[in-house]
């Protein structure tokens, strides 16, 4: 009986840990060199990197398009990275609850930087610094495009497909 209780306890504990783990959204807090590596390291997949934040209305509005794109092309050849400009103090109180609520499984990074002028041009000279903004690269970084704007309804997939053609 004691044995059984212990087993049950272990089982419950295991289930609890497992469930909890599968629901948690992990966000990697990064600095610019990590972002530079993420951009420059060639991948077999096409990369879509979206710059956003939970406090940015147009970013939130267009976000479902990125999640749909990810669902549709992830298994094929798309690697999606969401680079958040949320403030690192808000990681646990805003960003993670936001991702959990919307069940966002894509790779999310929080870029914890202050000296913006030192790296914006390095990401892309066409970037003024406004978000939302999106960088797309074909596999092995053969082609790239930088778009500083909010995608209108159903626009993202068209832009993506046209770009990787």
């Amino acid at each position: 009986m004691k044995h059984l209780t212990r087993r049950l306890l272990f089982f419950l504990l295991f289930t609890f840990v497992f469930l909890d783990f599968s629901n948690a959204q992990s966000v990697e807090v990064i600095k610019y060199p990590d972002l530079a590596k993420l951009i420059s390291t060639p991948s077999e997949k096409n990369k879509v990197i979206n710059f956003w934040a939970t406090w940015c209305r147009p970013c939130i509005k267009e976000l479902p398009q990125f999640l749909d794109l990810y669902e549709k092309y992830n298994s094929e050849n798309l690697e999606l990275s969401l680079i958040s400009f949320d403030f690192v103090e808000d990681l646990d109180s805003k960003l993670i609850p936001f991702l959990t609520k919307r069940n966002i499984k894509a790779n999310v990074y929080l870029l914890d930087e202050t000296d913006y002028n030192s790296f914006i041009d390095k990401v892309d000279p066409a970037w003024s610094g406004a978000i939302p903004a999106t960088l797309m690269m074909t596999s092995k970084n053969t082609k790239r495009i930088f778009i500083e704007k909010e995608f209108t309804e159903n626009e993202l997939e068209k832009v993506y497909l046209n770009f990787i053609k």
Binding site: C56, T114, N117, G129
Partner: protein
């Protein structure tokens, strides 16, 4: 008689082409906005106190710290105090701050003119907070984000764009900023020197443009 009509028609045709070309140029200019060294346009915009404000009203000013900002962007909020301090420090030296909110109210209801009045009062703005309802001024300047600074200086009756960019290089903590771009630029202009760092970039909220 016939010859005259032909001539008139020809002149009209030439005028049309010229007009179209200059319109095109104007549009192209509007799309790209100002670069450092360009001549900036004056404006006539409504302040939160109901007065219409133009740079021409400031006869004694040596120039202006024009800042596109808004009520809602977290970066704008983080810089409110610093914008107030800039005005307090430089208005008396000839470089007052003129803050302009260009956001479309249908996309960002909390940037309405009434909300601007409340914000200016709440935060004790010491500077005019102007409403660019048509977005014509943000478009002409080429502002893309909030906050976005344009320092213009008066030279031979002209308003010359002398700095474009961020206020400093640390949005979180003014004391931790190692480069205070706007202060350095205005100090240089006041000293009659060239502005060393005359263009910077920063992350900001995109201006909420009206639907085309």
């Amino acid at each position: 008689m016939k010859k005259n009509t032909l001539l008139t028609l020809r002149l009209i045709a030439i005028a049309t082409v010229l007009l179209a070309t200059s319109l095109n140029n104007l549009l192209a200019q509007a799309n790209t906005g100002y670069k450092v060294g360009d001549t900036a346009t004056d404006f006539k915009l409504k302040n939160v106190d109901g007065q219409m404000i133009s740079m021409a009203n400031y006869k004694d000013a040596k120039g202006f710290i024009v800042i596109f900002t808004c009520n809602t962007c977290p970066f704008s909020k983080m810089y409110e105090e610093r914008i107030n301090e800039l005005n307090q420090k430089y208005a008396s030296k000839g470089y007052p701050v003129l803050a302009i909110n260009p956001n479309d109210v249908t996309k960002q209801p909390d940037d309405s003119f009434d909300a601007m009045i409340a914000r200016a009062k709440d935060k004790n703005f010491s500077f005019p907070y102007l409403y660019d309802e048509s977005q014509a001024i943000a478009t002409a300047y080429g502002a893309t984000r909030t906050p976005h600074v344009y320092i213009v200086s008066k030279k031979a009756q002209k308003l010359i764009v002398s700095y474009i960019g961020a206020i400093d290089n640390n949005h979180k903590d003014a004391d931790a900023a190692s480069q205070k771009y706007v202060e350095e630029a205005v100090n240089s202009l006041l000293a009659g020197k060239a502005v060393k760092t005359n263009f910077t970039k920063a992350i900001g909220c995109t201006i909420k443009w009206k639907e085309a």
